[in-house]
Subunit: 487 residues, 2 copies
């Protein structure tokens, strides 16, 4: 839509990924029609193709959230000011970014209403009414919603003033059970991103400095983007009894005592679309993992004057066959664009498999099929095509994951020397695993000196040896942390 | 959740539907755990069971919206004040109900932002950038979103300050094509409500007085509720070029002329959950049409001390079998509630089919199955149960529709005498078809005298005979309109 390219040449050029990753990213988002800036500062419009990716993420993750026993519900967009203030750290963390509603029509409100930056407060107040007895626990709720956190510097999908997300909110009888839930949902995110989005992530715990405002512990899944920077792809919080105390969420236990519940919350957002672009894109544009792709295969009929109608008929018939095998397919029948333009256009949009079919192919009962991930092209018989395309889609899915894993592997370093640390971080392309003394002072100093942040203390391999010394302070190390530049 | 009934007796009593329909409605919404009031005045919390109904509505309607060529996208929650003001009738219609954001954190905004009451303005401004050529048309977009219209008097699902909906927004090259789209989407709503929700609706056009602020014509699907009142269940607007002119949505046509597009918009909301309750409920509570039901069959194991584990095992095995046949099933294994309580509880929640299984049933290789719509109960063999339950669910679906159609039929009257008109409207249980002279004056006067509004001029049977005279003014009739009391 709105594309002005009508002629022969493909004018959808994008910046070089190798030379200017940031510019490349924005070019891909805009020229692949994923999203655009809106007329409201900091807010984006998610265009149909980008929203199609989000819908697939949403549907697929929603199944996993439900399979682990959670139910969806919906809570108000607005949070009364007095509610937001009930948990001190929480309000401190979010207040500067909160839009306030002060009037309706011309009438001033009695109390200002915040647009939700997250829903712990409004949901906590509701849970207090829903829960009476231990039999009401665990309470396992999820919400798909829009949230607003006003951002000064925005970047499409990665940081926008309004974004879409899911937020899980659960209440438990014991701390152990709530902690188990926190880790379980972190695992759901990890598996989902690996299996559906072909994005490998590292599960870990955030430092005190980086944790969610109001949480006891914040866990994260961290992914390495194509430039070696880190992206926090999802978080899972153990909230302890902080909100339970603030909102009086109590239950009568079997021993006839009233107790505060133990809570968790966890979320992923439209940021995942940004993660997908930066994980899998290449110099030609986007590469969408087949399981998430709105269009898994595009058929480009080679339309010659005499045979256009016949070719199009075969193309449409092929599409029906593929659809019957649950392949999401589109026939590009735009007759005012030449095939070369279309090849580039669908490469830019990252459709996993391209199928070309022309009069000569039809005579030979074959078509040309190209894989977007490797660029490999081969002639395939029209007989049994759907099964072969399905296999190919599986291969693309696996290939993208393998590539992302190998890339992360190749760009992760175990470091014990601060000079080496500084060089690696300055290059900005590496996850550096290094000993940390566990203090915020050291963490702050490392950030000031290098711009590296602690992405997490990984659940696997985060334990320091007795002999390890902090990479900067030289004090005994408490953990092996992952340091990186981050989005 | 939060239910205090722990003992033997069912305490979920609801008001009599026959005696106090309004009170009955609120009781059902609350006691069936569909929704509740929130801590934000006028906004509701949609509880998991109610949200499950909405999710099924959403998924099922979304398929039909996509099957007719529309793509989903997402636009900002906020509408800058200057945008809302661009279409004069539009802002006049919505301004009094709009919440305004004036500050972010402690900083005042340069321009106030409205929380979207509907998105014609923000989407129109975006479309102006997306569309250049006739090749970009038709542009067929849909959005699932929350919207806010501050209401003084609210009623759960039917009228709340925040609600969830879908809003379709399309642009076309010609008026004829846009008009065709308006009617087509009205038809999609009509068929969806009939086939999935078992709600028969009347398609018609709204009077000038009742139309959408900014539209040329508003079409509606009107449903009769269980008390004979009308509910506007969905609307489809032909917008003409009103917003195209306000937002400069132009395209270069094949004849090399720049022209304004012709637009439509159409929407249905969480109000449909209210329509479902009021269409199908009875004295025992809700009756959910199987196609929309979050739980289609509930299995209640009769748990006796000695055989509880064995019975539960059989119940779970039955559930697995039913699930394998795509039946949404739940085993009520709460061992602190007796079967009688559970029967009433699931009747209140309107689950279409109840299956009881106890030790004696197991011995006889059978179970007791009860239909929620008719109350019929029969013993069924455990062999081939899934197929029989599937058949039964189809029968319930068809039964609910037939019942609703018969009810509407029985409560619709053709009237030519104003005294009779007044009596019928005063009783408030009838759709009255009567001649109307087409003037807003008469419409207003009828409303003032009787509280009846014109629901629509039906697409079928809305034409007056030459001899027809307006029911009140006696002037020559322009249409046969449907008058009723309405939600």
């Amino acid at each position: 839509m709105g594309k002005k390219n009508k002629g022969k040449g493909f004018e959808g050029g994008i910046a070089s990924r190798a030379e200017d990753f940031s510019r490349w990213y924005i070019d891909v988002v805009k020229k692949a029609d994923l999203a655009d800036h809106s007329d409201v500062k900091g807010c984006m419009v998610i265009k149909p193709y980008g929203y199609g990716i989000w819908e697939n993420i949403q549907q697929s993750l929603d199944k996993r959230i439900k399979a682990t026993g959670h139910l969806n519900a919906y809570f108000p967009l607005f949070v009364p000011e007095s509610f937001l203030k009930k948990e001190a750290e929480h309000v401190e963390g979010f207040a500067p970014e909160v839009p306030w509603v002060t009037h309706v029509g011309e009438e001033p409100l009695d109390e200002r209403l915040a647009i939700r930056p997250t829903s712990e407060a409004i949901i906590g107040a509701t849970f207090a009414r829903w829960i009476q007895s231990y039999r009401d626990l665990p309470l396992l709720i999820n919400q798909w919603a829009n949230v607003v956190r006003w951002e000064k510097r925005t970047r499409l999908f990665l940081r926008t003033s309004e974004f879409l997300w899911q937020e899980g909110h659960t209440c438990h009888r014991t701390e152990a059970e709530a902690r188990e839930e926190t880790i379980k949902m972190l695992g759901v995110y990890h598996d989902f991103m690996r299996d559906e989005m072909a994005i490998p992530t590292i599960r870990g715990i955030k430092s005190e400095r980086e944790k969610f405002a109001g949480a006891v512990d914040t866990y994260t899944v961290e992914a390495m983007m194509g430039d070696g920077w880190a992206l926090q792809a999802g978080t899972s919080h153990f909230l302890g009894q902080n909100f339970a105390r603030a909102f009086e969420i109590k239950f009568l236990d079997e021993d006839n005592e009233h107790k505060f519940v133990h809570q968790t919350s966890w979320g992923v957002s439209t940021r995942l679309v940004g993660a997908l672009i930066m994980s899998h894109g290449d110099e030609k544009g986007l590469r969408v993992p087949p399981r998430i792709a709105p269009i898994q295969a595009v058929i480009i009929p080679i339309l010659r004057k005499d045979s256009a109608a016949a070719t199009l008929e075969v193309a449409n018939k092929m599409a029906d066959d593929l659809r019957a095998s649950d392949i999401r397919v589109k026939v590009d029948d735009r007759d005012w664009l030449n095939p070369g333009f279309k090849f580039h256009d669908w490469e830019l949009r990252g459709v996993p498999v391209r199928i070309e079919i022309g009069p000569r192919d039809i005579e030979a009962n074959q078509c040309m099929v190209a894989r977007r991930d490797t660029g490999e092209k081969e002639a395939l018989s029209l007989d049994g095509l759907a099964a072969k395309i399905t296999e190919m889609l599986d291969a693309v899915q696996a290939g993208l994951l393998a590539e992302a894993e190998a890339f992360r592997e190749a760009n992760t370093r175990e470091v014990r020397d601060f000079e080496e640390f500084k060089v690696l971080i300055a290059e900005g392309k590496t996850f550096v695993r290094a000993p940390w003394d566990g203090t915020t002072e050291t963490e702050d100093e490392i950030k000031a000196l290098t711009k590296a942040t602690i992405r997490c203390i990984p659940l696997e391999g985060g334990e320091a040896d007795r002999a390890d010394r902090d990479i900067l302070s030289g004090a005994p190390a408490k953990h092996i942390a992952i340091f990186a530049r981050a989005y």
